[in-house]
């Protein structure tokens, strides 16, 4: 019962037993296996709906194909940094943890990479610094959790606070300008019409997908998040792996820090505000179970893009901040509800109300 009950708590507190999907379908495991797909289709539906709303509000813009393509690139560019972070976050959550420190780690990595001293080492030095700082801080998170036995929430919250403090200390609370042309040009470079940052996101997500679905590392992650005790008794080094998961998240923060630095041609201690909430929300909307053991990279990616598309649409519709927030809350709710729509439940509804006369068979 162990995991499943927790699952229920997370997923559908209070709901009746979790089953009840398609009856009469073929072999039902297929249905289960298709769940991520169904969820992703739900998110694609949300994206299409957002597009349709945009087209309705601003037909002038949406009728211009160039503009549309460019706008998609803008949406993706804005999804890039947070998307990379969400890939790392997805691993951490699937592995049964959570990382509240990602926003702070981006700020710390970015600030550290843009000190005058670091900048003097050129772009390689800056990138190396950002990534090393991210991984280092991630390892501290991992060590506190795996060996210090701190709850992930508390350990990474402590890191959040401390890393923002350290970033402020290093930067003297100033916005540090990146004078490095190479770094700054990352945000403006396009390859085959596609912004480099978007390509980085896709590469990171692609590698993440392979890592999660095709390697022993990914398999261990799922196992540990699904049932840490079972994983341990199966001989998996749960602690060591937990360290690696947080280091991976830190690495993603380091990469995102460079991306954000390039976009803003600067870095500061207050950067990447509340990225942790966005990344967690994107992962969950994408179908990752907050209690661990289940999740997909593709879903997380869609989650990030949905959030990015919402912000974009708000700008295009010129909504005031307060209305934006109210609508955003509603969209989140609708997006999640939409993913739960199942054809089977429609069928069931029909049957229960005598609209069809069904007789499920073996």
């Amino acid at each position: 019962m162990s995991v499943s009950s927790e699952q229920k708590v997370e997923q559908e507190v209070a709901g009746p037993a979790p089953h009840a999907p398609a009856v009469g379908g073929t072999s039902w495991w297929k249905d289960e296996a298709q769940e991520p797909l169904r969820r992703n289709l739900g998110l694609v539906g949300v994206l299409l709906a957002l597009f349709a709303i945009g087209a309705y509000i601003r037909p002038d813009l949406y009728s211009d194909a160039d503009w549309v393509v460019n706008n998609i690139m803008v949406i993706l560019t804005q999804a890039a940094a947070i998307g990379v972070v969400t890939v790392g976050m997805t691993f951490v959550i699937i592995g049964g943890g959570i990382d509240l420190s990602v926003g702070a780690l981006i700020a710390l990595s970015g600030v550290w990479a843009t000190t005058l001293a670091t900048q003097s080492f050129g772009p390689v030095g800056m990138i190396f610094t950002a990534v090393a700082v991210g991984i280092g801080a991630g390892l501290v998170n991992g060590a506190l959790i795996a060996y210090g036995r701190l709850v992930p929430f508390i350990a990474t919250l402590a890191m959040l606070v401390a890393a923002r403090g350290l970033a402020a200390q290093i930067s003297g609370k100033q916005t540090q300008i990146s004078a490095d042309q190479f770094i700054n040009s990352l945000a403006t470079t396009r390859i085959g019409g596609i912004p480099l940052l978007v390509i980085i996101l896709l590469v990171v997500a692609g590698l993440g997908w392979v890592l999660l679905n095709r390697t022993t590392f990914g398999r261990r992650t799922v196992a540990i998040g699904g049932n840490a005790e079972a994983a341990r008794l199966a001989g998996i080094n749960v602690r060591g792996h937990t360290m690696l998961l947080y280091a991976l998240s830190g690495l993603c923060c380091g990469i995102a820090a460079i991306m954000l630095t390039s976009l803003a041609t600067s870095s500061q201690a207050a950067a990447a505000e509340l990225y942790e909430l966005d990344a967690i929300a994107a992962a969950i909307i994408g179908g990752t179970l907050l209690s661990g053991g289940r999740g997909t990279i593709v879903g997380s990616l869609f989650g990030v893009i949905v959030f990015s598309a919402i912000t974009n649409l708000f700008a295009i519709a010129n909504l005031p901040t307060e209305v934006q927030n109210m609508v955003k809350g509603a969209i989140i709710v609708v997006a999640v509800l939409l993913q739960q729509v199942r054809f089977s439940s429609i069928t069931q509804f029909a049957r229960r109300h005598g609209l069809t006369r069904a007789k499920p068979q073996t």
């Binding site: 804005q78 003297g172 609370k173 100033q174 945000a187 041609t265 201690a269 974009n312 700008a315």
Partner: protein, 322 residues
């Protein structure tokens, strides 16, 4: 906005033998509190205050950090009162939320100098020195209005990138901007609110540019977030419009002087007011007036005028950039 951490000496008033106010007086303790700095302007406020206090031999400077919100600042100020300073200079998180503290301190006989965020209650402060947020918006509005009128643009498309929208000062700036534009018959086509950080400025600007394929002018409230705004504009290869900044950071003034970007002007909201606040607080504590004025005491209210920095006068303002 720079990688250096000390304030420009130009933002403080050094010893000036001509000025009788600088003559040493009775030794006083000035308590100071400002919100935790998370961006350049606030950081400059604290640095300026510290530097200005350091310029007076008769001033002891006691600073308490204000923490992350009004409640935390109240807590910090309670400990400050226990130190019995002669005067308190205070930049509150929110003037209304800290009004009660002002009253309490004044009742306890400690004059309070309110810096920038006004207390609603006149009894809650001895001196109020602040920038003019509404006036800042007005200055930006007039600059843009005039420039567009000069270019004969009939119904211009104007964008606005505001700062943190939940702050009242942002509301005042936007209100002033709107009012000034209205005198020309112009309106804001799209308004985005960023978070006073470069990365949020970049993001909002990028979206604004998407929403407005053709723009005539943009006002960005804050030069710090403006770094990101400019980055977004450069990345999008847009140059059909001009931009006005806000606050008056060093980098912005340099950019205006160099005239290589769309940034053509910035309207000031200078953190130098912190230096002035310390100077005036010292006079209040010492019971002296301002030497240039007839009155024997420091006046009750000082509102800085928002000045407009353009390529023409950039060189004179550069020393005031933070």
């Amino acid at each position: 906005t720079s990688n250096e951490q000390t304030p420009t000496p130009a933002q403080t008033k050094g010893a000036d033998t001509e000025n009788p106010n600088t003559a040493a007086g009775k030794a006083v303790t000035i308590g100071f509190s400002a919100p935790a700095a998370d961006h350049g302007w606030i950081a400059a406020i604290t640095n300026n205050a510290k530097a200005q206090a350091g310029a007076y031999k008769d001033v002891t400077f006691k600073q308490v950090e204000a923490g992350k919100d009004a409640a935390a600042q109240r807590a910090a100020l309670d400990t400050l009162i226990a130190e019995k300073p002669d005067v308190i200079v205070l930049l509150p998180h929110d003037g209304k939320e800290l009004n009660a503290f002002g009253l309490k301190a004044m009742e306890a006989g400690i004059p309070v100098v309110n810096l920038d965020r006004a207390f609603p209650d006149a009894l809650a402060y001895r001196l109020q020195i602040k920038g003019d947020n509404y006036g800042m918006g007005v200055a930006a509005g007039h600059y843009i209005g005039k420039a567009l009128k000069a270019k004969n643009v009939a119904s211009p498309i104007i964008g606005e990138i505001a700062g943190m929208d939940e702050l009242e000062l942002t509301q005042e700036r936007s209100a002033g901007f709107k009012a000034a534009l209205a005198t020309y018959g112009f309106t804001v086509a799209n308004r985005r609110a960023a978070r006073f950080t470069a990365d949020s400025g970049q993001k909002e600007a990028q979206n604004l540019l998407q929403a407005l394929p053709k723009i005539d002018a943009v006002w960005n409230h804050d030069d710090d977030q403006g770094i990101g705004v400019l980055a977004a504009i450069t990345a999008a290869n847009r140059s059909e419009f001009f931009m006005v900044g806000g606050a008056g950071s060093k980098k912005a003034i340099e950019d205006i002087a160099a005239d290589k970007t769309v940034l053509k002007a910035t309207v000031t909201y200078s953190p130098s007011m912190a230096s002035s606040a310390i100077s005036l607080a010292r006079l209040i504590a010492q019971g002296r007036g301002m030497s240039d004025l007839v009155e024997l005491q420091v006046p009750k209210e000082v509102i800085l005028a928002s000045e407009t920095i353009t390529k023409e006068n950039a060189s004179t303002y550069l020393k005031l950039g933070f």
